[in-house]
Symmetry: C2
């Protein structure tokens, strides 16, 4: 039989096995693997064991690795001379507070019929157990049809994604040889807002910087010192205000080094998304896109860097009024990066700018938070075109290459520590309520997600 | 006997009676008249009664007026065709927290010998019971020598000064006819920093304004919305930063209307104070005076208006980092006013400025706090020259006309509701620790303070 026919068999197998697959997912969702809560450490391990058992049954060579935190589950299929692919997902989940807002116990998952269709309701349904299981069900159906797993698969399932992944980078460093594939495939993202399938091909990087301006060695009375003594809030406000010019451009010298204009291909793709900035902003009560004059809204969110103030505090901001000149003021500032912008160079440029704004008798203190470059995948890799075609066939509409305004640290880690790009494909919806009460995953996302992987695997194997 | 001789007798009488006067003050200080604490309401009333009894014994016609808060004590001497004078002080005190930092119980006052001289230690010793009693002891000595009180005195002693004086303005309005004098004399200020006697002839006014900038109707993720959605912290920072130009001048249109350059007389006087801005700032860890280029430091603090940010808050400013675009940001801003600056015009100009900085899809909310004009006394009133001469004679050094960077609301209230200027003379020292643990009043301040009032009364009667 030819490849086409076998794919059809796999898809038929998936459809026939959907109820059993949903049952398995419900069992997985019953395990309260909340990684951030030490009281659930045993449950996190139980989820790892459950997953390891599933994978072993399918014929993978499985290992559950202890770490200083929660276990890493790795699994490998037989080598077969194909391009090695590294599949990533995570089996831990977010806490469930506030519990009172759940319509059902978060770890007693169930299928529910809703006006928008049938959904799987429960903590982790979408993020990320349901998505992770789309991989597993595709592998299972492949095995049922072919009698063997696809060759050259490496699986990495993490149990700390929702608690900052403290063990991930050391683990990747220690096992880089075993994990090095040609491409990583990550299922932890969503379809495009309108439901069409999407491949995320670029992610913004992030530099986080805290700045504290110190003036007098104590709080001063504004009657006795106002007009004479430096006010650290004003110094900070002036330094931060000067970060952008009237056209919305960031003023730091060299800030735009490495920022690349969008390629004609992505320009066309993004235009086809018909992104409605007014509708997007309207959902949160705004109407007017800010940002550099002359850029489209999607460019601003996905392909342009930002300078944002995320927090500020100084002096007395409670009820009433206090005529104080405070001793200090602080702000948290972040920069989203694109292209090949250098996080350390951006940090330095910001610090130098602030230092220039601070008078000689005042002092500035910096606390560095994260620094990661943007991830821009090489979409000339044929895998991207093949995956895109496979997704289009499954969903009956063109798959989109999209960007993401936020960072997904795992993609940066794979690039930095394993030297490989990631193909980010996920089937979640914006209304899945991940991290919130009443999390759900559409049965359509789950069923067609697994079918999508069967098609992609078929194209890549 | 001539006036001179009687003054000498009064001064002799004061010196001879100092120990008894100190005893009386210690009894007064034993009453814990903390006005802000409802548990001490009875003590506040007890202090009013104690004072009323003292004044009655001296021959004043005394009234203790109930108010919605604490009592007002008023007292009058006989009319005699002299210029009526209104003496003001307050008999309530600040709370004593933190109690553990006191070297002795705050309401078990005592005389203490210190390397800097003999002091009266206890809550209220300086602020304001000790200062208030300098009036009373001067009246007592006058009566002892003359057989009668000075004529045409009106006394007003308040019990709510340390808790915002909520009953004061209604009381002044209701009793304006009875209280209207030619001049108010207030004993609630300090000598100049170097210890020379001083008359405060101008006080800055104050406008307090809270501003809240609202952007999105919820906190946003800076990955999903950064670069596209308005950031209220940035809007606020830009609006506040623009309040001052590079030379330190406030940029609000019309802001300087009514600000007056210092008269040649006060320019000379203030220069003679040898104010050392470097020393003054050095005490709080600073060295560089800010403010409008070309102004002296004393001008900046006493005769120039200010625009200061007293508090700011928005987004996440705690430990760690949160990539949030907050829904709102707020700041508390105050303006110190001089000359005839109109508080309402300043408030309007600020609000209009902020509104111009806020994009159409965002919203700004203002909360008005206090608004009081500057108080500039008419020092051509002969009483000022006479008081200055009397102080010089007592202290053996020229008395200074000084300004105050802060406002003293009672002076504005007297001006507004009774139509009279105030002569602010006090004997406190900068190191008296008012409002703090271990408050003290120098015995020298008390003794020479009472003698100063005897001299001033003698000159004005």
């Amino acid at each position: 039989m030819g490849k086409e026919t076998r794919l059809d068999d796999i898809l038929t197998q998936l459809d026939a096995g959907l109820d059993a697959a949903l049952d398995r997912l419900l069992r997985f969702l019953e395990i309260p693997s909340i990684s951030t809560d030490p009281a659930h450490a045993g449950d996190v391990r139980a989820a790892a064991s459950w997953l390891a058992a599933e994978l072993e049954e399918l014929g993978f060579a499985v290992q559950v690795h202890d770490t200083p935190g929660h276990p890493m589950v790795t699994a490998r299929s037989e080598p077969g001379g194909a391009r090695p692919l590294l599949f990533y997902g995570h089996y831990d989940v977010q806490p469930v507070d506030p519990l009172a807002l759940w319509d059902r116990p978060p770890f007693q998952p169930a299928l529910e019929d809703t006006p928008q269709g049938r959904v799987i309701r429960g903590r982790g349904a979408s993020d990320d157990k349901g998505q992770l299981m789309t991989f597993v069900e595709a592998f299972r159906a492949w095995k049922a049809v072919h009698g063997a797993l696809p060759s050259d698969l490496i699986l990495l399932f993490e149990g700390e994604e929702e608690s900052g992944s403290p063990s991930l980078r050391p683990f990747l460093e220690a096992h880089a040889g075993d994990l090095r594939a040609d491409l990583a495939i990550i299922c932890d993202t969503a379809r495009y807002a309108d439901g069409r399938p999407a491949i995320t091909t670029q992610l913004r990087g992030l530099v986080g910087q805290e700045v504290v301006v110190h003036a007098a060695d104590r709080d001063l009375h504004s009657g006795s010192f106002g007009g004479l003594a430096a006010n650290p809030i004003m110094i900070l406000a002036q330094a931060l205000a000067a970060l952008k010019d009237d056209t919305g451009r960031v003023t730091l010298p060299g800030f735009y080094d490495g920022v690349q204009d969008l390629s004609p291909e992505l320009t066309r793709d993004w235009q086809a998304l018909d992104f409605d900035a007014a509708e997007y902003l309207g959902r949160v009560g705004l109407s007017h896109p800010i940002g550099e004059v002359g850029r489209t809204a999607l460019e601003m969110v996905w392909n342009q860097p930002t300078a944002e103030i995320n927090g500020i505090a100084g002096g007395y901001a409670g009820d009433g009024f206090k005529t104080v000149l405070p001793a200090m003021a602080r702000a948290k500032v972040s920069f989203r990066l694109t292209g090949t912008q250098d996080p350390q160079a951006v940090r330095r440029a910001f610090q130098e700018h602030v230092r220039r704004c601070v008078p000689a008798d005042c002092r500035v203190e910096f606390h560095d938070h994260g620094a990661s470059p943007a991830s821009v995948m090489d979409i000339s890799d044929p895998a991207f075109g093949q995956a895109r075609e496979a997704l289009g066939a499954e969903w009956g509409r063109d798959a989109a290459y999209i960007g993401a305004g936020g960072s997904i640290p795992i993609a940066g880690d794979f690039k930095q520590l394993l030297g490989i790009d990631s193909m980010l494909i996920g089937f979640a919806r914006d209304d899945d309520r991940i991290h919130s009460p009443n999390e759900k995953y559409d049965v359509e996302s789950f069923a067609k997600g697994a079918r999508s992987w069967a098609r992609i695997l078929s194209a890549l194997r």
